[in-house]
Symmetry: C2
Subunit: 334 residues, 2 copies
DNA sequence: CTGTCCCGTCAAAGCGGTTTCCTGCGTGAC
DNA sequence: GTCACGCAGGAAACCGCTTTGACGGGACAG
């Protein structure tokens, strides 16, 4: 018998099929003895509830769709590892609720696949990989036109549900840490106008805290390059050429910071001896760098949990713009 | 109207519901003009096929379940980035076939969730994250007891479907590259008895090729430590203490190699000046190291495609033990 | 002894598609 | 003019589960 149905279980347990359903779902109105008999029959037959039949009837699939937006033509191994970490924490949060996670990577504006909710496959959709990603705006536009709802990591603004790292606090912590370490010639390296303002927030928090302590940071826009790492290398070279006495750098992201680190070494600077360096995101690769990268690490467990909760519209997370707490992890570089 | 059904489309197009189904699935026996009218009606109503109803009837969900096995209690950010890369390529392969991907991380042998196929949620299951992971064997045992079928990245042996990197060739390429670079005092750093023999294969390929060229490598088992990176650091120290004249190292994986790199630097060795270093896996972090890590990179696109094909039992992939080609990517470290 | 209530169970009606079976009608052969 | 044929499309069965509504029988009150 291929895949026993609830009718098979019913026959074996000597009850009706509806009783099987009630017994297995712990619905009320089933005698304890009957319930046990059904459970035994189900176990013996290796019965597993058909999720399609169940979801069809219940109109709920207990599944969340996770869409990760990539740059067009981007090799998947080039995706910022931060998003893989976020994926992992979202998976943990869904799994903790007994939900399934449907994962999809999308890189082309041409054929976005976003009907996961409309087709019933998922109860809600989460979108990540959007920060400073132009493709993301195409996706937002498509979604809005289609009346699609989702929860998003980033700052797309209304009418979407979204949240992000507490970038402002992160920037402040970076400034405080560098200054507490005796650094006074500070610089921020990062995009000066990011589509979703995530980097702007980091910069502004950094600048405000530094200024309050009498230091005015240099703001350096990284030159165009193939990826963040390459941008970081070039940005470090440029910056040190123009401001050789910089002694503390806050980079807008870890990938950028790892590039900056390499650029600093190439120009003969020692880290943290000559220049202290702080990144943002807490990616694993930062711990492997030499020296290990000091960084601002968002609480990913909280982020995953909050994204899932907001997606499922649990109370307390309906308001967009929630900030995920960030802590400074001091390692070798600063 | 919440979620139009095919009946709504039928009414609007002035045809029966069964014709709508036929028209939208491109089944034969529908007049071209009628087909167009149905398509228009569907578009106007924003109709999307309910995947549960469809899957229920078709007994196929066009979905693949991907289970990633983690070490118990392991933080998800500690998962070897290689598996995230593999996840990405599997996602690409499923997406290319119009399939969905259900992702699940499992860390405890106690409550494995593996009924994705039995419940109809997925048509097939792929398991990764098993290499040198003890938890994996619990999973295999459970699966076998439950008569569960799946395709696996690793070498669990019969009765499972599985494939892995062409480890032997990789080992040989590493030896050849080091020797071609003038290295003669070679060492292999890695587990000497790995549960699935993946590392053994790398070692044996390395040793055989080196021996054929008159070089007998030192074999170094890394000491126990919190993770592969830490193991690498310690292994490098140990090795150089006992064999100060080693000038070429092949590490069993990139994570290990990155640790070895750090260990080498700490003991004052320059890389590749004093010691050349090669890793295995082609992870992104290797490109960020200083110097960038020379590595053996499996063709991940091929791996993802082959895993999906084997899982769906496409012809030509039924035989377990398929080897995914590996190429040597020469970067700074060797 | 009869009427009422409640508990446990069952039959059956969906959920929204896909597909089989069948009918109606236009075409061409004889 | 009649008949066979084939195409387009409709009615209905069915996928496996959840849940409503109905029912039988035992307990209890009157």
């Amino acid at each position: 018998m291929l895949r026993p149905t609830s009718f098979d279980v019913a026959e074996r347990a000597g009850v009706s099929q509806s009783t099987v359903s009630r017994a297995l779902r712990n619905s009320p109105g089933v005698n304890a003895e009957t319930r046990a008999r059904v459970a035994a029959a189900a176990r013996e037959l290796g019965y597993v509830v058909d999720r399609h039949a169940s979801s069809l009837r219940l109109k709920s699939s207990e599944t969340i769709a996770l869409v990760t937006i990539c740059r067009p033509g981007e090799d998947r191994s080039a995706i910022n590892p931060f998003y893989f970490a976020l994926l992992g924490s979202i998976a943990a949060a869904t799994s903790a609720r007994g939900f399934n996670l449907l994962v999809s990577f999308q890189e082309s504006a041409a054929n976005f696949r976003a009907d996961f909710v409309a087709s019933g496959l998922a109860d809600a959709m989460i979108v990540i990989g959007t920060t400073s990603n132009r493709t993301a705006w195409d996706f937002f536009a498509e979604a809005q036109a289609a009346g699609l709802g989702f929860t998003c990591w980033g700052s797309p603004g209304d009418p979407f549900h979204w949240m992000r790292s507490d970038n402002g606090i992160g920037g402040r912590l970076a400034a405080e840490h560098l200054i507490a370490g005796g650094r006074r010639r500070l610089a921020f390296i990062g995009p000066q106008r990011s589509p979703q303002r995530q980097f702007d927030e980091r910069r502004d928090g950094f600048t405000a805290a530094a200024t309050a302590r009498g230091v005015t940071p240099i703001l350096a826009e990284p030159p165009a390059a193939s990826d963040r790492h390459a941008q970081g290398v070039a940005a470090a070279r440029d910056l040190l050429a123009r401001h050789p006495d910089v002694d503390g750098i806050f980079a807008a992201s870890d990938m950028l910071a790892l590039g900056v680190l390499q650029g600093l070494k190439e120009t003969g600077r020692s880290v943290p001896g000559d220049v202290a360096l702080i990144g943002f995101d807490g990616i694993r690769a930062g711990t492997l760098a030499d020296p290990a990268l000091t960084t601002l690490e968002p609480d990913l467990d909280a982020a995953g949990e909050a994204l899932v909760a907001m997606a499922l519209e649990d109370t307390g997370f309906r308001r967009s713009g929630t900030r995920i707490p960030v802590r400074l992890v001091a390692r070798g570089s600063a």
